[in-house]
């Protein structure tokens, strides 16, 4: 495992869009301001407002911005502006060796999850699952990410907080899992299966999230994970936020909790739901590749080490 160095005031942070284009120019202007207000210097990719189909420009344009940001030694961190789709096109062309020799903090989520997982798998560098810049919408998430980027201490633990009950977590299988943390968007994780960028899940604590999917589609991708046999080598599964995921009006469709637990319970694999991990401003940030412990009964994930050197 390789840890990039924590950020310092005045460090240069690249704003990139390797997937889709931001909805409007104000999203970019706002993102610049956020990076600036955190005390860093924003460096905007040349092509972030370009457009080709559902992507922020052609593969060549997106690759040029992103590879430049990863390789340029004067850039200290690379932050995704928005998700969508398109990062997968770039995975076989990224400068992995250069990045490994000069590691830096790379953060984002949603479609960018492909990149975080691939960079970690190919280089061993710790990457950071955190909201994309277009979801930094509250003071809380602003401060959490700023703290996470600049600290050399362990990152803040994740604890499920019920709106009303002080001490409640839904854990179909109570227990502990300890190991390397792999935090992933479920759709992205399964999209890497069978490719050279598939994460090694052996001995991992696996955190999963997704957004805007129907329960049975989530079950499809969980089924892939299940029939791959890889869940038997995972020490615990923490399900995070599944924003806007539901049965889409199909009354007889069971919840994702039930569809997931009907495989995990017979395996006696410790698992819990509703960890504050996902894409929304209420998420906590999770470094991919550091070791940690998930206590499913308490719905609590703690980190055993710092994320950055």
């Amino acid at each position: 495992m390789i840890k990039p160095r924590a950020l310092k005031s005045k460090d240069r942070v690249a704003i990139v869009a390797p997937s889709s284009r931001p909805a409007k120019p104000s999203v970019l202007a706002r993102a610049r301001r956020i990076v600036h207000d955190m005390g860093f210097e924003p460096v905007v990719g040349k092509n972030v407002l370009s457009t080709r189909g559902y992507m922020a420009g052609s593969d060549e344009q997106r690759l040029s911005d992103f590879a430049q940001a990863l390789s340029d030694p004067s850039i200290h961190a690379v932050w995704a502006l928005t998700g969508g789709f398109g990062a997968m096109h770039l995975l076989d062309k990224l400068p992995y060796e250069t990045f490994k020799a000069n590691p830096k903090i790379v953060l984002g989520c949603d479609d960018f999850s492909h990149v975080l997982l691939a960079l970690h798998q190919k280089t061993g560098v710790v990457t950071l699952n955190a909201p994309n810049l277009d979801r930094i919408e509250t003071r809380d998430i602003f401060e959490r990410v700023k703290k996470a980027l600049t600290t050399t201490d362990h990152l803040h633990e994740l604890v499920h907080r019920d709106n009303f009950l002080d001490d409640f977590a839904y854990a179909p299988v109570e227990g502990f899992g300890k190991g390397k943390i792999i935090a992933a968007n479920l759709t992205a994780l399964v999209s890497l299966f069978g490719t050279p960028f598939e994460p090694d899940l052996e001995g991992s604590v696996l955190l999963l999230e997704d957004r805007s999917e129907r329960n049975d589609i989530l079950d499809r991708w969980l089924t892939t994970l299940y029939i791959s046999g890889k869940l038997s080598h995972v020490t615990a599964v923490g399900f995070g936020q599944f924003e806007n995921c539901d049965s889409r009006g199909a009354f007889n469709m069971l919840s994702f909790e039930e569809l997931a637990a009907d495989r995990l319970c017979p395996m006696k694999l410790p698992c819990c739901f509703d960890l504050p991990f996902g894409q929304s401003p209420s998420t906590f940030v999770v470094p991919i590749g550091v070791t940690g412990v998930l206590d499913t009964a308490k719905g609590k994930l703690t980190f055993n080490e710092s994320a950055w050197g």
Binding site: S20, G53, M88, D92, S212, E213, D216, D219, N252
Partner: protein, 321 residues
């Protein structure tokens, strides 16, 4: 015929009766799985119930063909507990599409049995084209031969979308494999992952956004699946247009054809888009495992897709009859 529901249920007794009437019309006898009318979430009963029907009817010596009533979702959930040795010992016809792809590819690959990507039982009489290819594939011991297009219905106002769009010109020959892209993607990284080596690979889907198809195609590209293939046939992909999924719409979408040209246009094998496979009313029945050839050129009549080998034999191997 054994009628099973390994995926989602059909709760319309009238539809089932109509399907059974069709079997009688063809002179076929049938049995229904014991759990046909059960329900668990969007699946036709628990995994255990669906497995029990599948195994019981597959082992039944009176059964020649196992016909899923419909697709939907749920078949891949059964895979870790399917008895592939039992299937290999009692070779039978299995025909379906969509979610049934999750059985067709694993069973074909792990047992060597030819399986059939064609209508589920409830759809085999949908129209003349569908029905004729169903019979050619399942009730004949001759090769299907050159695959034709649905006949022009003579409607002067009908929308004639070109049925075959050449993405890459070329010639290829190999055994057939393929199915519904969502299912193929769901088998990646598992013991049931599609083997595309030296194959003619057909892919189709329904009501998915172009970017979602792109995601799945990209996964297969990154996995090197198309470098190994001899040819690619993309189905009509009914409803796979921007907004078609009604759930995952990204702004600035572009068409499936543009995406396919961008992603597959550089390949050195024949690639054609628009054949009637899977989720279209006109539906071919394609046997997985038989030899086929594909020739594509940009001229008007330049696509030749030929199934060269018979999919069925007169007697099951090892049969004493």
């Amino acid at each position: 015929m054994a009628i099973i529901t390994p995926s989602s249920p059909s709760f319309e007794p009238g539809t089932l009766k109509y399907s059974l009437d069709w079997l009688r019309k063809l002179g076929l006898k049938y049995k229904l799985g014991r759990h046909t009318f059960e329900s668990y979430s969007s699946y036709a009963g628990s995994d255990a119930a669906r497995l029990e029907d599948f195994h019981t009817l597959w082992a039944d010596p009176d059964v020649t063909a196992v016909l899923p009533l419909r697709g939907g979702a749920g078949a891949p959930r059964l895979l870790p507990k399917i008895d592939f040795d039992l299937i290999a010992k009692h070779p039978k016809i299995l025909c379906g599409f969509s979610d049934i792809t999750g059985l067709l590819i694993p069973i074909h690959q792990l047992t060597g049995l030819v399986t059939f990507h064609g209508p589920t039982l409830g759809l085999m009489y949908e129209n003349a084209y569908t029905h004729s290819y169903y019979l050619k594939a399942l009730m004949s011991t001759s090769p299907i031969g050159l695959v034709g297009d649905p006949a022009d219905d003579g409607d002067a106002w009908g929308f004639d979308y070109p049925p075959r769009i050449v993405i890459c010109e070329g010639k290829g020959r190999g055994r057939l494999t393929g199915g519904c892209l969502t299912l193929i993607r769901g088998l990646m990284g598992t013991p049931y992952e599609i083997d595309c080596r030296d194959k003619i690979v057909f892919l189709e889907d329904v009501d998915e956004e172009p970017h979602t198809i792109d995601r799945m195609i990209s996964q297969l590209l990154l996995a090197g699946k198309f470098d190994q293939a001899q040819g690619i046939i993309i189905g009509d992909c009914n409803g796979c247009r921007p907004g078609g999924s009604k759930r995952n719409v990204l702004p600035l979408n572009y068409s499936l054809e543009t995406m396919l040209r961008d992603r597959l246009g550089h390949l050195n094998i024949p690639v054609v888009f628009g054949l009637k496979i899977g989720h279209t009313i006109d539906k071919l029945t394609l046997p997985l495992g038989v030899m086929a050839s594909l020739e594509t050129s940009a001229t008007a009549t330049g696509v030749k897709f030929k199934i060269e080998e018979a999919a069925c034999v007169d007697k099951a191997p090892g049969s004493k009859k």
